[in-house]
């Protein structure tokens, strides 16, 4: 394992510290317990948005703290959800009295820890609503499992719910927008290589030179099945098909197309995937109205990508376009 780190156990703390140093006008970093808040939090009258989860998915979530998106991010250890004693103070710190929305990726650990924190926050008089993100169509039979995972769609939920909060929507409304995004987004991912968790020291799975993992999540876990390597168009078709089927994308639909890198894949390759995905969508009569291409929700240095499709309506489009000012996503300001 070769990584630009000092001590595997200090990775999150040092990285978050560096993040705070690099973006001093944007965020405040609290150490022990670790969480990151928007510089001007709590924003008076605004619903607070808190997300978090294991580290290793950067820029998610800290990179999305700022105007028009998250008020706080709570990073756990690498691939380990944060604990209530981090989530609670982050929640309290961004509560202006309008309540707080927790955006939680659907993993047992995240759900349980945010659940406890929400309960504790309610006990302190803060209203909390939880938006559970579970956009990963790779998880089949999800009724008989821990359910679908929250993956690429999380970024879109955070952006759009963030815009709703910023324009002044109340607690229920912000949560409802977040849920609407989640209901209209689906994602599927592929890994060309594994990733190495710093404290583990060896790759999260072993993959032959001519194999890829289809249906991976963002934690270096193996996917649903392993297939021989294919070309980019073939892989794109394979990822997109279940996404479109599950969403029921039909002719005339307008969508946001999000091709996300898992961390170790060159941007140029993501655009090759994007190109094919646009072709496929056009073939179905759907129009790509908005795009996002890049490394936004990653699995350390894993090679691969995920494709997310979000069905847009006028309101979601408007909220997507609304100004955002964070370390990793910025426009209109």
């Amino acid at each position: 394992m070769k990584k630009l780190i000092n001590d595997p156990r200090a990775v999150v703390d040092e990285s978050v510290e560096g993040f705070g140093l690099a973006h001093p006008h944007l965020v405040t970093v609290s150490a022990d317990p670790t969480y990151i808040t928007r510089k001007d939090a709590p924003v008076s009258g605004k619903v607070g948005l808190v997300s978090g989860g294991g580290s290793g998915h950067e820029p998610l979530h800290a990179g999305f703290v700022g105007q028009g998106m998250l008020d706080a991010a709570v990073p756990g250890a690498v691939f380990t959800s944060p604990t209530p004693d981090q989530i609670l103070p982050a929640t309290l710190a961004v509560n202006s009295g309008a309540g707080v929305v927790h955006i939680v990726k659907n993993y047992t650990g995240d759900v349980l820890n945010f659940e406890t924190a929400a309960e504790l926050a309610e006990a302190e008089g803060v209203s909390v609503r939880t938006v559970l993100v579970n956009d990963d169509v790779a998880v089949e039979d999800s009724l008989y499992t821990a359910g679908r995972r929250g993956v690429g769609g999380t970024v879109l939920v955070e952006k759009i719910a963030g815009a709703a909060a910023e324009r002044g929507d109340d607690l229920e409304a912000v949560a409802a927008v977040g849920e609407r995004v989640n209901a209209n987004v689906r994602t599927m991912g592929v890994a060309l290589s594994a990733c190495t968790v710093p404290h583990a020291g060896s790759p999260s799975f072993d993959l032959a030179e001519d194999e890829i993992e289809i249906g991976i999540g963002i934690h270096g876990e193996p996917g649903r099945h392993r297939i021989p390597m294919e070309n980019a168009d073939g892989i794109t078709d394979r990822l997109l098909e279940p996404v479109l089927a599950d969403l029921g994308i039909a002719s005339g639909d307008k969508v946001l197309l999000f091709v996300n890198g898992m961390g170790g894949t060159p941007l140029s390759e993501l655009y090759i995937v994007y190109r094919r995905a646009v072709q496929v969508l056009a073939g179905r009569g759907a129009t790509v109205e908005r795009s996002l291409v890049g490394n936004y929700i990653t699995a350390l240095e894993m090679q691969g990508c995920s494709i997310s499709v979000l069905r847009l309506d006028d309101e979601l489009t408007e909220l997507w376009d609304a100004p955002v000012h964070t370390a990793a996503l910025r426009w209109g300001v």
Partner: protein, 210 residues
């Protein structure tokens, strides 16, 4: 042998030792069907428990377990943090402030712990989770405790052995809860890391009484 606070502290100390010793093994189990962090999380959590025990030595077994519960909740994270946290909290509540634990009380505390895990995680037996270590342990402990002349060591041993067998029994299971469930059929053929760590902890309880 009585299960008093000294035993409890020794149990937790040996548990911490076991987590440190088996850290890599638990990481490897989690690497196969999860996200490679279980050993790291448990080791970090139990080291923190040791620190807390040293800072504020508890006066009863229940207090020791409560302190453990709070520490694991705030230091472990992931699925295991809240689940073990709840388990230790329920066990602590079940023990109340009694100074010594009788065989029956221990079986009842284990059951409370298991029920806490189920209440939080909603897993059933056979879902390939730590429940598959705890439920046999609870049953074995109850059975041993119910025997007229049960001494406490016998009960501890029965629970540990059942947990170990339960962990081994997760090998062929297809996961339906937790991170391994995403793998579907591919989860079969690997031991559940949480069941494995549960067995280690219940084995440490024997070591503390020996």
């Amino acid at each position: 042998m009585v299960l008093d606070v000294n035993w409890a502290v020794k149990w937790l100390t040996l548990s911490a030792q076991a987590m440190a010793e088996h850290r890599v093994e638990l990481i490897e189990l989690d690497r196969a069907i999860g996200d490679s962090d279980h050993g790291e999380n448990m080791d970090r959590g139990f080291q923190a428990v040791l620190d807390k025990l040293a800072e504020a030595p508890p006066q009863t077994p229940g207090a020791a377990l409560k302190l453990t519960a709070m520490t694991l909740m705030s230091k472990v994270g992931g699925a295991a943090g809240p689940l073990y946290g709840t388990a230790f909290l329920r066990a602590a509540t079940s023990l109340g402030d009694s100074a010594e634990i009788e065989p029956e009380a221990w079986a009842t505390a284990l059951a409370a712990a298991r029920d806490g895990i189920v209440a939080r995680g909603k897993a059933e037996s056979g879902d390939k989770t730590m429940v598959d270590a705890w439920t046999p342990a609870v049953e074995a402990a109850r059975k041993a405790a119910a025997a007229g002349d049960a001494d406490v060591l016998t009960v501890l041993v029965a629970a540990a052995e059942a947990a170990e067998a339960g962990a081994v029994a997760t090998d062929p299971m297809v996961a339906r809860k937790g991170r391994a469930s995403y793998l579907g059929e591919r989860s079969a053929g690997h031991r559940d890391p949480g069941a494995a760590s549960s067995a280690l902890i219940l084995r440490a309880a024997v070591g503390a009484a020996a």
